[in-house]
Every structure is written in C-alpha cells, then in structure tokens.
Amino acid sequence: MSVIETRELWKTYGRIEALKGVSLRVEKGQIYGLLGQNGAGKTTLIKILLGIVRLTDGDATLLGHPAGTVDVRKRVGYLPEDHQFPGYHTGYSLMDFYGSLYGVPASVRKQKIPETLELVGIAGRMYSKIKTYSKGMKQRLGIAQSLMHDPEVIILDEPTDGVDPMGRREIRELMSELKGQGHTIFLNSHLLGEVELICDRVAILQQGKLVREGTIAELTKTKGTFVIGLLSGQTFPSDAVIKLGYAVRPLPDQAGLFEITLSDGQTIEPVMKLLSERGLTVVHIVEKKQTLEDVFMTTVEGAEPGVDRKRRRGARPVGGRD
C-alpha cells in the first residue's frame, strides 16, 4: 500500500484549474519532493490530501483512506504554508492545544513538547507569546507541531521558508533522521538545492500537470553531453564529428573546448575513435551532469537541456587523457 496516492486528480476553483489529472504515488519511508512554479498547484494537492479542500474529480488516498478522512489525520503531521498561529498562545501552550486535538495524552504531551521544541531549536522561548516570535521561529514551531504526535506521514509545505541557513541544515538533518525512523515525508519546496540533497523522489508540477517524476538520479542524469578539449595546437575536427551525426559546438568562453551532444542511442565511443584515428590527443573530457535546478528550469521553460549555461557544481569528470 502506498502512503500517498493520487489518480487523475482534478481540482478547479471556479474557473481556475489548479490540478489537471495528477497521478502520483509515495511509498513508505520516502522523502518525496513536489516542485513547481508559483501557482502550479502544489499546495492544492496537499490540501486535498488533508481534506482542507475537496477534490473535483479523480481519486486521492492517504494511508489507504480516502483523502479528508478525519481519523486518518491522527496519523499525519502537517505544516501549512503561510500559517498564522493564534498570537495569544505561547509556543508551549500551542503545542499543548494541538497535541490535545491529536489526542495525545497529557503526560505524553508534557514530555514530548519540550523535547520537540528542543529539536527545532526554540525550546528557550517556549513560554513566550507567539506574537513575539520571529518569522523563522514561527516556522520552526510549525515544524514542531507537525511532529509532536509522532505521525506516520509528515506533510510540509515549504518547511524551510524563512529559516536561516543553519536552521535549514538542521531541518534537513531532522528530516533525514525522521526518514531513518521510518516516517514518510512529503514536501513542497522552491529550494531546489535542498530538495536535491534530501529527497528520494521528486515530481514537477506545471500548471496543474505532472511533467516530470522520478528519483533524483533519474532526473538529473544527463541526456549525454560531453565537453572535450584537445592538446593545444590541435584542431578539433568539427565537420567530421558532425558528419558522424553529433551536435558540436565550441564553448564560447573556454577556447579549445567543444561540447558534443549525443542523440538517443549514441555513445561517445565513435567520436573518441575518430579522434584517435586522426592522432589527436584528448586532454579534457567531462560528462556534464545537471543539477535539479537545471532540470527544473528546462522542464518549466520547455527548453532543451544542455543549452548554454554556466555550470560549476555538478560537473563531473568522467575521465582524462594526456
């Protein structure tokens, strides 16, 4: 049984179509990231799972129950985006209130609340009124309240929104730890670098449609782009390589480096063979790898990967010869 599953999920708000047939599946123990531009429908999908908004068509289940079932929400923790906690609570009393709503017994709450607040780093301020909290503190409190009842599934809508870099790392570590304990985490985020670091699988929503889905490795695998450099003084035989059926392009900002793009089914071997037949010496060969951000950008822009972009991170040398 999948922890989260949607089939052909549609949602319309009046005339706005927020989701147009989204099908996805999250398995137990995964950290699953949902990406997409503003207004793509990420929050809408989460709200449907929790029964905050009603689906228009299709099917959504959470832990095997239809989305919105009251009882199943006991087993789910949720951090909404743009949350507004009632300012008259202190961090502690809010946790106590929500804990009671989740049915956590008083004795457990008493022990769990300081523990959880400690985990997100705001235990020192737990008796202050929430209206005195900074944005990031509220966000940390939001994460804490989604964890305290030890839920099987944790759904986080932009969990690191407003949190400082140290805090973001702590939250990432926390998520890994939770995953290690067998929790399933579903998150929305715009911070692709983070998603890439912690998510097992990601899906990209665009205008209500699921356009990419897969493990990080699957998504960031290049379609095959190599950068080759020859011994200085040697000329790259562009025409011959193009004749072989490859796309070749000199890199404008790095003289002597050429970018060779493989089409489906091609390998780099014939090019290497041609170069060695001509007695040319390859001193630099790197297979370009995309970051999640690249994947995201190209996906949402509908552009081909491998276009002219500066890349520092993620460039992975696959070999080098003299």
């Binding site: 929790l50 905050i52 908004v53 009251v70 929400r73 507004q84 009632p86 008259y88 709503l101």
Partner: protein
C-alpha cells in the same frame, strides 16, 4: 472530550488575551465596591408601623392581601375593609419590637390609620365581622380565578388573572373561627409581608376587647434584615445622605434587577458581542483555519466547540460580576439567597442566542464587522419584539389601546418562533423578585404579569441556536478553506 476541553481552554486563552476583558473586570470591580459601600439600617419601628415619616407607607396595610388555603394559594384575594394599626410601639433589646396590633373596620379604601383619623373613616359597624371573614378567607381554599375579557383574541375570550375571588361565608362559618386561627393568620401575614421568620413572631390576643374589634400583643424579633421592613439606605460607607424607608427586599430588587440584570447585563451583552465577534473570523482567517481542520476533528464539531468556547468570555465576566454583587449584597443585607446566581447561566445562555447569530454571519462573511452589525440589529429586534409582546399582553387585559386582531397574531407569531430573549429576562426578574422580596410582595408582583415557562423560553431559544449553527455548519462543511 479531550478535544472539547482543549478548545475550551483555547477559547479561554483567547478571551483573556486582550486588555478589554481586564477593563471590563475592573469596571465590574468598581461596581461591586460601590454596591458594597451601601449600608442598610433598619427604620425605626414607629415610622415603619405607622407609615409616618416616609413614602413606603405602613407595612401593616399590606395585611389586607390574603393568600387563601393558609397561604398555599399563590394567587391572592383582598379583604379591604379590615384596618390594621399599631400602637404602644416599643423597640426593645436592639433588634426586636413590641406593639399592640389594633384590628378594626374601615371603608373600601384603606388609608394609613392614625388614631385620630381612625374614627372618621370607620363608618357604622358592619353586619358581618370583617376580621373573622379575613381569617376565614385565609383558611379556606381559593375561589375561582378572576377573569378579564381580552381583546384581539376573538370576542368571547377572557384571560385569567392571578387573583381569586373571596369565599362565601355563613355567620356560622365566621363564628367557628378560633383565636388560635386568628393568631396563626396574623403570624402568616407578618412572615409574608414583613419578612421575619415564623419563629421570630410571638402574638397573643388581648382580652376584654369587644368584637368586631380586636387587639393583639405582637413581638417581632430580628427586624434588621427582614425583607419587608423599611430600611434607610446610604452609599459610600455611610458618607452619603440616606434614602429613607425602603423595604430591604425592594432595595435589593432594584439593585439586582433593573441595575445589574437590566442595565449591567445590556452593557455586558453589547460589549461581549463586539469582542467575541472577532473569534470566529480570526479562526477562519487564511493560514489559521488550515492548522485546525488538518487536525483530526470534524468541521461541524470544530465550529460547535468553538461556539461554546466563545461563551466562556461572558461566563467569566458575569460570574465575576454577579458573584461579586451577590456576595457584597448578602454581606450587607444578611440575606444569602442563592437564586440571584442563576442569572449567570441565564445571561450566558442569552448571549448564546446572540453569539449563534454572530457565528453564522462570521462563517458566511468572515468579517467581524458584519457579525457585529448584524448581531446588534438582531439584538435590537429581539428587544423590540419583547417589548411589543409585553405591551400586547398587558393590553389584552387593560384594553388601553384599540388594536386589530392581526397585530396580536403577528406579535405572538414572531414571539413563538424567535428566541425568547425577553422571556428569559422576565424569568430572571421573577427569580430576583422571589429571592429578594418577602413572599407576599413577590406574589403580589405577579398578579398582572403573564409568566412564560422556563421550558418554552429555553426550548425555543435552543432550537433557534441549533438552526443557526446548522446553517453555519452547512457553509463551513462545503467550503474550500
């Protein structure tokens, strides 16, 4: 249950968060201290028993009101041509008074009787003994209730007054009245109108007085704090001038009913409507509601709990105010009748009617301002309908104004379906009358008033609240948050 308590606690926090509640509590405290500064000093027996010296009149005049069946009948009758007067008044040992009660006859319209005036009004001796007839009336079961024709309810309809006809008596019946029964009757009248307790009354008949005149030696103990005994009232711990000769019960009644349960309650209700109007819109605000409905609680449940939670505000406030007023008044007067405390739940319930309207408007509009405006208009309408109903009820009996039949039907129809806001008020008024005034006065107050039933008032109001909350739930359940 855990969830319910959690939401109550949450509402409590919300209620005590702002400064407004502290301001209101402070105002209440001032009122309580002010009322606590009132002192009640029993009036002199001379003045109380002759009626000379102040406006309240002679307490003995009320003895003409008789509750038949040895007081078991709450509806009274009158035997007006008996006159009661006091002479040889002595205040003994502080709190007791001894006097001679003179019973004689007079004309239809009883007047305060000074010794000199007495003979002038007396007229010729009656053919039957009026005092024996009064005692006989008290002993016998009540007669039929007196009926008045009613207007606007079909030509032949009548209404019953809480007033009964006096019995028929034969000379033999009157002769059979014993001295012990006379003393029993007079003791009952002292208890019913002066408000002393039965054990504090000692009456003996003086021999050698020719019937139909009678003289009794009466000794009353503990007149300070007796509900029907005139008292002098001073504010600011005795610093102010005194209002003289107000029966203690009447003074307490005026403080507790028109002032606290009337004016005070109205102010509290209006302020509470304003403050609590923000609770539901705040909960429904974007960013807040998600946090709650993602918890394992149904939306209807959430709304109902939150509604009940909203009542904590006024419950706190009225508990403090009513409780405080009750304690200081009891300390000052020595009367510890707890019935006044019932105003707390009734006021909370009355607010519940208003808050149901506020909640529903808030769910539909998410606007606190809209909730306040609609609720205040509704409050005014309820008040107007209640006033109209009281007037029409009165007019049914007195026929002061000629009104068409349909107007009666309209007012009663509206009153039947709308929550019984005014009825609740009438009922608490009765409660306060009963708890402050001596039994005789309290019953006499009710003669011309038609009292609604608690069941009806609470039942219709509850139905209204349920209907309002259903309407609100309907919207909340359907809505995407």
């Amino acid at each position: 249950m855990l969830q319910f308590i959690a939401i109550l606690k949450d509402s409590f926090r919300e209620a005590v968060d702002g400064f407004v509640i502290y301001l209101m509590l402070a105002l209440s405290a001032i009122v309580i201290i002010l009322l606590g500064s009132i002192s009640f000093t029993p009036g002199s027996p001379e003045e109380a028993l002759t009626g000379n010296g102040f406006g309240a009149g002679n307490v003995l005049n009320k003895f003409q009101i008789i509750f038949p069946d040895r007081g078991a009948s709450t509806a009274p009758t009158f035997v007006p041509n008996v006159q009661y007067s006091a002479s040889n008044i002595e205040q003994s040992a502080g709190n007791s008074v001894a006097f001679t009660l003179n019973v004689s006859w007079g004309n239809q319209f009883a007047r305060p009787v000074g010794d000199k005036e007495k003979d002038k009004d007396k007229g010729p001796p009656p053919t039957i003994d009026p005092f024996r007839y009064a005692v006989y009336t008290w002993l016998e079961p009540p007669g039929r209730k007196i009926e008045k024709p009613m207007r606007g309810r079909g030509k032949a309809k009548t209404t019953e007054l809480e007033l009964v006809e006096p019995p028929l008596a034969t000379p033999a019946n009157l002769k059979a009245v014993t001295e012990a029964e006379m003393i029993e009757f007079l003791t009952y009248q002292c208890v019913a109108f002066i408000g002393v307790s039965k054990s504090d009354v000692v009456i003996t008949r003086k021999p050698d007085v020719a019937e139909p005149e009678y003289k009794f030696d009466v000794r009353l103990k503990n007149i300070a704090g007796a509900r029907g005994w005139p008292h002098d009232i001073q504010v600011f711990f005795g610093a102010s001038g005194a209002i003289r000769g107000v029966p203690l019960g009447a003074a307490l009644y005026i403080i507790e009913d028109p002032i606290i349960n009337g004016l005070g309650a109205a102010v509290t209700l209006i302020l509470s409507v304003v403050i609590t109007a923000f609770f539901i819109p705040n909960m429904l605000r974007k960013g807040s509601i998600d946090l709650l409905i993602s918890k394992p609680i149904g939306r209807v449940q959430l709304l109902v709990y939150k509604y009940i939670g909203g009542l904590t505000f006024i419950f706190l406030l009225s508990s403090f105010t009513i409780g405080g007023v009750w304690v200081v008044m009891a300390l000052r007067s020595g009367l510890w009748d707890p019935r006044f405390l019932l105003v707390i739940p009734v006021l909370t319930f009355t607010f519940g009617i208003l808050y149901a309207v506020s909640t529903t408007v808030a769910v539909y509009t998410r606007s606190a301002i809209a909730a306040i405006l609609v609720t205040l208009v509704f409050m005014f309408l309820m008040y107007a309908i209640g006033q109209a109903k009281s007037f029409f009820d009165m007019n049914k009996v007195t026929n002061q104004v000629e009104l068409p039949d349909w107007s009666y039907t309209l007012v009663e129809g509206l009153n039947n379906v709308l929550p019984r806001y005014k009825d609740l008020d009438k009922l608490t008024t009765k409660l306060i009358v009963d708890s402050t005034m001596p039994t005789g006065d309290a019953r006499a107050q009710a003669i011309f008033t038609e009292f609604p039933s608690w069941g009806g008032a609470v039942g219709v109001s509850l139905a209204f609240i349920a209907a309002m909350l259903s309407l609100a739930s309907l919207r909340l359940v359907k809505r995407d948050c």
